[in-house]
């Protein structure tokens, strides 16, 4: 459980921030816009298994991409997913690669911001930062919130990485909840216990979601009463 929480706390904010920043950049008039959007979205299409296999190789301590690069630059190398401490950060890094989904939803949100409001803000002398802070950001809170909730629910259910890449190791450092559940049910055959685990997970996710929604009232509806 701590492993899963650690992963969620690491992955969700990173994906949100990266997705949001890239979405902002891709909401501009830039040359080759649709090409850039495609590139950033591409990794989300890769089948989970294929991406797991690919990342095992990238993380390979001997001849993987990262350590090869680090060695070239004379920097200390890491054991990545084979080290107890680096395993989860490595998987978080890997999950960041797939920020495309969040980005696309952010983009849709950005496109929904009424143009008049931005124009009004700039007529009132609002600089770029003021426009971002008082018009764009408040308008985006529902989208941010949506991405946050789906992100949390999604990361609480990671399975493939644990199954293919680490088998829960090293030393249970990546024993994600669902992987534990899977092992209990289908390798140890304790269906009843696994069902109980599943319900516990459900309750936890429910509690977190409800808490997020409660908390959301404080910041998501900023737009209704005007900024701040």
């Amino acid at each position: 459980m701590t492993v899963t929480t650690y992963y969620t706390l690491g992955s969700v904010p990173v994906v949100l921030v990266v997705g949001f920043v890239v979405a902002l950049m891709l909401n501009q008039k830039v040359r080759w816009l649709s090409f850039w959007r495609t590139i950033y979205y591409l990794p989300t299409l890769v089948p989970a298994i294929a991406s797991a296999v690919l990342w095992i190789w990238i993380f390979n301590p001997g001849f993987g991409l990262f350590n090869s690069l680090l060695r070239q630059a004379n920097l200390p190398t890491s054991q990545w997913i084979y080290s107890e401490t680096a395993a989860i950060p490595s998987l978080i890094l890997m999950s960041t690669w797939g920020f495309g989904n969040a980005m696309v939803i952010f983009l849709a949100g950005l496109q929904g911001i009424p143009r008049q409001l931005l124009e009004a803000a700039s007529i009132d002398g609002g600089g770029p930062w003021a426009r971002f802070r008082y018009v764009v950001l408040p308008f985006m809170t529902p989208t941010i919130f949506y991405n946050m909730v789906t992100g949390v629910i999604g990361t609480f259910q990671v399975f493939n990485q644990a199954y293919v890449m680490t088998q829960g190791g090293p030393n249970n450092a990546t024993l994600f909840y669902i992987y534990y559940l899977y092992r209990t049910a289908f390798t140890e055959g304790q269906m009843g216990y696994a069902s109980a685990l599943a319900w516990v997970l459900f309750v936890i996710v429910m509690i977190i979601t409800v808490a997020l929604f409660r908390n959301a009232r404080r910041w998501v509806y900023y737009e209704m009463g005007g900024a701040r």
Partner: protein
């Protein structure tokens, strides 16, 4: 007009300060670009940032293809070579015959066809009922349906497995395909939601005209709604297709015979059998990834449409 003029220099002032790059400037560039074109310098800078970012995103793909074209000797030398020479094309033919990937592809496609057809048919019927027919408790049922999205898939995992094993349907395609015919595969609820939203945008006058002409709800569904819903149908088809293609846990649980494996499952078993043969592994991974990427490029227009449709939701 006269009132805006004095403020204009203020807005310009902001963009002339562009030379100095402050952290706020970097964050704010996006909003500016929405109305003003932004300064050429700013746009070039943004372009460069995007290009670097894109390069970073593509590096794993590059590494994949590079390794797929190398023999083991080439892979395990230091310093590593970035471009394989010569290209080891044999990796593809050898890895793909080391395990019956053609059979995996066939299995995957069988499941694909059954699931995609089932999903489109049943989800659209359900969505039609929610969008176009009036019945007691409709909104309550719809709300209950939506809340079921919150249910982690893990909760239903064990009971469904037990159910299928009691029906002695383990190690067949049934557990992977039959649910799709009850609007319940993977993103069933999501599909229903998507289609319902789309159906709601079709003018009700069309239905009414058909009913006046004596059409049954069935007829309205087939002759009025479906022909007008091609965009959403394509989106559902694409998402369902990708979902099945990428599904791993389902086949892992239900299929145990090698000759029933899907591509995803085949790749995983390949990975555990050939742990150290990275050239083979990467070649096999490329083959699993490539069709999806090609599909994406061919149907990109529909993807964008799908995203816009989903955007309505949030």
């Amino acid at each position: 007009m006269t009132t805006t003029r004095p403020t204009h220099p203020v807005a310009n002032d902001a963009s002339t300060r562009d030379g100095r790059i402050t952290p706020t400037d970097r964050l704010s560039r996006p909003t500016r670009g929405r109305q003003h074109r932004g300064s050429p310098v700013g746009r070039t800078l943004l372009w460069v940032v995007l290009a670097i970012g894109a390069l970073v995103m593509l590096i794993p793909f590059g590494w994949l293809v590079r390794s797929a074209l190398m023999t083991d000797d080439q892979i395990f030398i230091a310093p590593p070579e970035l471009v394989p020479k010569p290209f080891a094309w044999t990796n593809f033919s050898e890895s793909l015959t080391a395990q019956p990937f053609a059979l995996y592809l066939l299995n995957t496609m069988i499941i694909e066809v059954v699931v995609v057809v089932g999903t489109v048919l049943t989800c659209s019927i359900v969505a039609f009922s929610f969008a176009r027919l009036r019945w007691r408790g409709r909104n309550v049922v719809f709300a209950i349906l939506l809340t079921s999205v919150m249910l982690p898939y893990a909760v239903t995992l064990v009971p469904t497995f037990v159910l299928w094993s009691q029906l002695s349907a383990l190690n067949t395609f049934l557990p992977l395909t039959v649910p799709a015919w009850f609007a319940g595969a993977g993103g069933g609820v999501f599909n229903i939601f998507l289609m319902r939203q789309f159906f709601l945008t079709i003018p009700f006058e069309l239905d009414e005209a058909a009913y006046i002409d004596g059409a049954t709800p069935w007829k309205v569904f087939w002759m009025v709604i479906m022909p007008n819903s091609k965009p959403v149908i394509v989106v559902v088809v694409i998402f369902t297709f990708i979902g099945v293609w990428n599904d791993f846990l389902g086949p892992l649980l239900y299929l145990s015979d090698q000759d029933k494996f899907t591509l995803a499952l085949g790749l995983a078993s390949f990975q555990s059998n050939y742990t150290a043969q990275w050239g083979y592994l990467m070649a096999a991974s490329t083959v699993v990834i490539l069709p999806i990427i090609i599909l994406f490029f061919v149907l990109q227009r529909y993807f964008v449409e799908g995203v816009t449709l989903t955007g309505i939701k949030s």
